[in-house]
């Protein structure tokens, strides 16, 4: 027994001093290999008395277990140490820049169109479109603006032919005409899109964007118009309260007609919507004129409703603090990066209109 204990103690000491996996494995075969020290001790069991054998076998097994256990712990110990050492050497500077990020953006006009569509979608409007090139009839005549009407002077029109038959639409209202001509009432649509007028200065661009709205049914009155726009403006500017004013005006295609102002004030050089005592005109609207309904084969004694036209660019400027309309269309990389929106920022009701 003392022999065995000595072997054990010797090897435990050896193992404790060892730092190399290979050498530990060598010790392992020294002990437990075919002719290993422990293996040989086991072989001796056959040649001793039964009583002694029992005791020796038990002692041997204990020593074997202890040594094997020690070996596996040692190997693990050394391996852990080695890995840690290796990882230590592999350390990189994680503050170095990541691979180049390419950030795309959505233009504010597109974002605002999506916001507007999302708001009107909530109250059941669907989106219609019309062509940018229109004929004179859809743009003017059908909208109760005959050739000799002075209201035509308010639209500086781009023409595509000398007979003034083909033009770039001056407003989105011809989409009303197209929508009603191809369908049957009721109608409940918005129509965002490009519009064109031939004037150009600091506050006017030859191309801009409008959204048309139209709701025709049996009993739609001016109260519904007011309610709809009140809802829209509140949602759009994401405010709880809005100061809004309906003011009588005139458009040939609506009667009665109104212009809508919203209250604002300037606070610290920034425009604050919904408060203050200044008024800003933001849209035109009214009850669709019976003459227009007749022109599109809708019976005005059965059906009535409202229409409105909103300047999209202007709304975007107000909401997002953009001062210069012309910058919308100048494709300055810096401007687009600054005012553009993340493509994942899809305006929706449940996730919020804007971040």
């Amino acid at each position: 027994m003392s022999d065995i204990k000595k072997i054990k103690d010797d090897y435990i000491d050896k193992l404790n001093a060892e730092n190399n996996v290979d050498k530990v494995n060598n010790i392992k075969s020294e002990l437990f290999g075919k002719n290993g020290i422990i293996s040989n001790e086991f072989k001796k069991l056959g040649s001793i008395s039964v009583e002694e054998r029992k005791k020796l076998a038990s002692d041997l097994n204990n020593v074997k277990d202890e040594l094997q256990n020690k070996i596996s712990i040692k190997i693990q110990e050394i391996e852990t140490k080695e890995i840690n050492l290796k990882l230590e050497k592999e350390k990189i500077d994680v503050t170095l820049p990541e691979r180049n990020i390419e950030i795309g953006k959505i233009h504010p006009v597109s974002q605002v169109i999506d916001e507007i569509s999302s708001i009107f979608s909530e109250i059941g409007f669907s989106v219609e479109e019309g062509p940018d090139v229109e004929n004179e009839y859809n743009n003017f005549t059908a909208l109760n603006t005959p050739d000799n009407h002075p209201a035509r002077d308010m639209h500086d029109t781009f023409y595509l032919d000398n007979n003034k038959e083909l033009l770039l639409r001056t407003h989105t209202s011809p989409v009303q005409v197209r929508t009603m001509l191809k369908g049957k009432p009721p109608f409940k649509i918005i129509a965002p899109g490009r519009t064109y007028r031939s004037d150009s200065d600091q506050t006017h661009a030859p191309m801009f964007h409008q959204v048309e709205g139209l709701h025709i049914d049996k009993n739609i009155n001016m109260g519904h118009l007011k309610g709809c726009l009140n809802y829209f403006i509140k949602e759009f500017f994401e405010v709880d309260k809005i100061k809004m004013r309906f003011r009588p005006s005139h458009f040939p295609f609506t009667e009665p007609s109104a212009e809508v102002d919203i209250g604002y004030e300037i606070k610290n050089g920034k425009i604050v919507i919904g408060e203050g005592n200044k008024w800003l005109e933001i849209l035109g609207c009214g009850m669709v004129h019976p003459n227009v309904l007749k022109n599109v084969n809708v019976n005005p004694s059965k059906y009535q409703g409202y229409a409105f036209g909103i300047g999209i660019d202007r709304l975007g400027m107000l909401k997002y603090g953009i001062n210069d309309l012309r910058a919308f269309f100048e494709t300055d990389y810096r401007w687009l990066s600054h005012f553009g929106f993340d493509p994942l920022d899809v305006p929706s009701n449940y996730r919020g209109l804007s971040r």
């Binding site: 953006k105 999506d114 989106v127 595509l160 494709t331």
Partner: protein, 802 residues
């Protein structure tokens, strides 16, 4: 339309304050643009303080003063006054001011080598006294806190400027505005004094309105005023004319203008002695000409309404008078005209000749045809009062009698339209105040429309009158009705939004550019499309509708490159025009990438953007938008603005006529022509209209979910093949060997040159083979391998690389 509150009060008895009047006007649809004093030449003179007065470096008698004029910074003024000293409060005139004493306009000037911005004033220069020895010394206690404010109080009356909508000609006169205000409860409309004018003799210049087709004049009223003394207008009249923002001319002209703005009744005064015998109102013949009061000569077309005499055209009726018969200070006898011209005729003529006058503006909107005599009387009275003279009997010629418009109005229409109710009593009161003649027939109101309201022709016009006078604030705000008639967006509208955001998410900045462009750039991209010129372009470099997105996109790309940006990704989604008729347009995404990928990266190798960058962007965007990727076929035929060897077209399937998309390098010639300086430039375009609507929602179009858990094997093959053989075809040949077993084929290497024969290339593909039914054994796999090799060899002429 401009007028003063005083002028308004000539017609309106009111207790309203100015601000109440302003608010009321806006509330009834007469939008107030501004309410301000008319500007005065004296407005520029302001209170200032000398902060520091030091001696002029080049002149002992002059001083160099730092002057506080109430701005952020002081300004430097050279001053010769002995009393200019630190701390003195005085009056400062900035450059541009007109000095009352000598009417000289100040400009920035150098005085003995030092620039002086404006001047400090003496009392004599401002005509306050004869004191000219020094500059004004203002009292500290009164002016110390007024630095920067106007020195002279503007005493001129404030002018209201209204923006009158085209349907309201009656409000182009002060009386009409007063009438509207009275209906809205802002006061009482004054009753016109009955005229006690004495007439003597007849108007003996014969007037004929020729009965011609499209005669533009239906009534011509006139009177002769003999023995007048034309002169400068009296102050009250001058002030009225000035408040309109116009220049007084002479009493007679000023009076006709005054009556026009007062009653909305344009008049014209002729020097009667310059009329050749008689007045003939007729249509012009092409080529006739006359010199108008604006000193321009107009050459007329056929059928313009002219006032003429035996010698020819005197003037264009209702638009502009002629120089030949104009009144002067020496004029002794005048013929005063008050006529009715048909709006359509006025509009046509003035458009053709491009003339805009106050009279034309009014006649084209519609003048009260019953105001002929009222206008003659009011003007004659004033002329007699100011210029003297004898007035003849009024002579009114007409070829048409005015017919009153009658509208039967059911008050229920009001509530049906506006959503609220107004008592009949109030409704009638409003209409009567507006000049309607109301009689009741059971529930229906029979309304005679006032002659000054040509805009009112049907019941809805009556609704508008009542609701605007009652006030839009009475309209309820109803909860929005949420009923939906159909889905918000259709397939193509959804596609638009998906693709827009999909492309942006690949690092492209979205832009919006004009729908028009420069024909010279458009030319490079229009292919076989017709050019669509704009007849009246805003400028010569925006003179055609764009046939493609690229002319503008590349124009602005270049601008950004010139700004110093090197790596740029831009796109636009919008119309490209294919013809000049409505609907001849396609919705297109155009995108461009310039520069390098991984520029200045510490760990990635930088490289120039190439065709396969944009190919990835376009294909991935199409996948994301829901186009089935197995259907997509690539072709190498592209429009001529692409590099012929480095560009491709994308088709939804192989029989499709129109490409969904193109991608590739831009043609080097175009880069050269547009003078674009960049390391690399690649573009792509997607035609949304050519994408086929699957007409199925995702819930209906998902196929059954199948997968195989049997072991899969991968095999690599390398073929030597003709250089021009397309990899897409090779992949298709392999797939077609057994499309059940072959799960995917991926080209992972392409190689030419060393060890490869001339005109050939080596393509290496990785093929994944997996059965849905069993684990394939070596034998099965060997068979497939052999089949792949033999098929490729026989169908493509390739040889397997050993």
């Amino acid at each position: 339309m401009k007028f003063t509150v005083d002028w308004l009060k000539n017609h309106l008895d009111t207790k309203f304050s100015n601000n109440q009047i302003i608010d009321k006007l806006t509330n009834i649809g007469l939008e107030v643009e501004s309410f301000e004093s008319s500007t005065s030449e004296l407005d520029t003179f302001i209170v200032a303080k000398i902060i520091n007065a030091k001696t002029h470096p080049n002149a002992d008698r002059l001083k160099l003063c730092d002057v506080d004029i109430g701005r952020d910074k002081t300004i430097e003024v050279v001053c010769g006054a002995p009393n200019a000293k630190n701390g003195l409060l005085t009056v400062y005139a900035p450059p541009g001011s007109i000095i009352p004493k000598n009417q000289m306009k100040l400009s920035v000037s150098k005085i003995r080598g030092v620039t002086s911005y404006g001047m400090l004033c003496s009392e004599s220069e401002l005509l306050l006294s004869n004191e000219s020895d020094g500059i004004i010394e203002l009292k500290n206690n009164k002016y110390a806190n007024k630095i920067g404010e106007k020195y002279f109080k503007n005493t001129s009356e404030k002018v209201i400027d209204l923006s009158i909508t085209p349907n309201r000609p009656d409000c182009l006169g002060v009386r009409g505005i007063a009438r509207d205000l009275s209906a809205a409860g802002a006061g009482k409309l004054k009753i016109n004094k009955k005229s006690n004018l004495k007439y003597r003799g007849n108007q003996n210049i014969n007037v004929t309105i020729k009965k011609e087709k499209a005669q533009g004049c239906t009534i011509f009223g006139s009177c002769l005023i003999k023995g007048v003394t034309n002169k400068e207008s009296p102050k009250w009249l001058k002030d009225k004319i000035l408040s309109l923002g116009q220049k007084p001319i002479s009493a007679i002209v000023d009076i006709t203008n005054y009556v026009m703005f007062d009653l909305n009744r344009p008049l014209h005064a002729y020097d009667a002695d310059k009329i050749d015998n008689e007045i003939i109102v007729r249509n012009s013949s092409k080529g006739e000409s006359f010199e108008a009061l604006d000193n321009k000569k107009y050459i007329l077309e056929n059928d313009m309404c002219v006032i003429s005499d035996r010698s020819g055209v005197l003037g264009l009726g209702g638009i502009i008078g002629g120089a030949r018969s104009g009144t002067e200070y020496s004029t002794k006898n005048i013929l005063l005209e008050s006529a009715y011209f048909i709006p359509r005729s006025i509009r046509k003529t003035s458009k053709q000749l491009n003339i805009d006058t106050d009279a034309k503006f009014r006649f084209e909107r519609g003048i009260d045809p019953l105001s002929i005599e009222e206008g003659l009387i009011k003007a004659s009275e004033l002329i007699k009062q100011i210029c003297g003279g004898e007035i003849s009997n009024l002579d009114v010629n007409k070829i048409e009698n005015y017919k009153k418009t009658i509208i039967n109005f059911d008050p229920f229409l009001f509530e049906k339209t506006t959503g609220f109710n107004v008592e009949n009593k109030e409704l009638i009161r409003i209409l009567e105040k507006l000049g309607f003649n109301v009689s009741k027939k059971k529930k229906i109101l029979k309304l005679a429309i006032p002659s000054w309201r040509p805009d009112i022709t049907q019941p809805i016009d009556i609704v508008e009158e009542i609701v605007r006078i009652k006030g839009y604030e009475h309209i309820n705000t109803s909860e929005p009705i949420k009923t939906r008639l159909k889905p918000t967006l259709n397939y193509y509208q959804k596609l638009f939004h998906f693709l827009q955001r999909s492309v942006a998410s690949k690092g492209y900045l979205e832009t919006v550019t004009w729908s028009f462009t420069d024909s010279k750039i458009n030319q490079l991209f229009k292919e076989n499309d017709e050019e669509i010129p704009i007849v009246n372009p805003i400028s010569s470099d925006l003179n055609v509708l764009r046939n493609s997105i690229f002319p503008n996109l590349l124009f602005y790309l270049k601008k950004n490159l010139d700004r110093g940006f090197k790596d740029i990704s831009l796109f636009e989604i919008g119309p490209a025009f294919k013809g000049k008729n409505p609907g001849d347009q396609l919705t297109v995404i155009g995108a461009a990438r310039a520069g390098k990928v991984s520029r200045l990266s510490w760990n990635d190798k930088e490289r120039i953007v190439d065709t396969f960058d944009v190919k990835k962007d376009v294909i991935q965007s199409l996948y994301e938008a829901g186009i089935n990727k197995d259907d997509i076929v690539i072709d190498d035929k592209t429009p001529s603005y692409y590099h012929p060897g480095k560009s491709g077209g994308v088709y939804q399937n192989k029989n499709e006529k129109n490409a969904l998309a193109y991608f590739g390098e831009i043609h080097p010639n175009i880069i050269k022509k547009l003078d674009i300086k960049t390391e690399g430039l690649v573009i792509f375009e997607i035609y949304l209209d050519y994408i086929k609507d699957s007409k199925q929602k995702i819930k209906d179009s998902k196929s059954e979910y199948k997968f195989s858990d049997f072991q899969k094997s991968e095999r690599d093959f390398a073929f030597i093949i003709n250089k021009n053989f397309k990899s897409q075809e090779l992949v298709n040949i392999i797939k077609s060997v057994d499309d059940k077993l072959i799960q995917s084929v991926r080209v992972f290497d392409v190689f030419e040159g060393e060890n490869i024969p001339e005109g050939k290339k080596s393509i290496a593909v990785n093929v994944t083979i997996q059965s849905e039914e069993k684990t394939l054994n070596e034998n099965d796999l060997e068979n497939i391998n052999k089949l792949i090799i033999s098929s490729v060899e026989s169908k493509s002429g390739a040889k397997i690389r050993s």
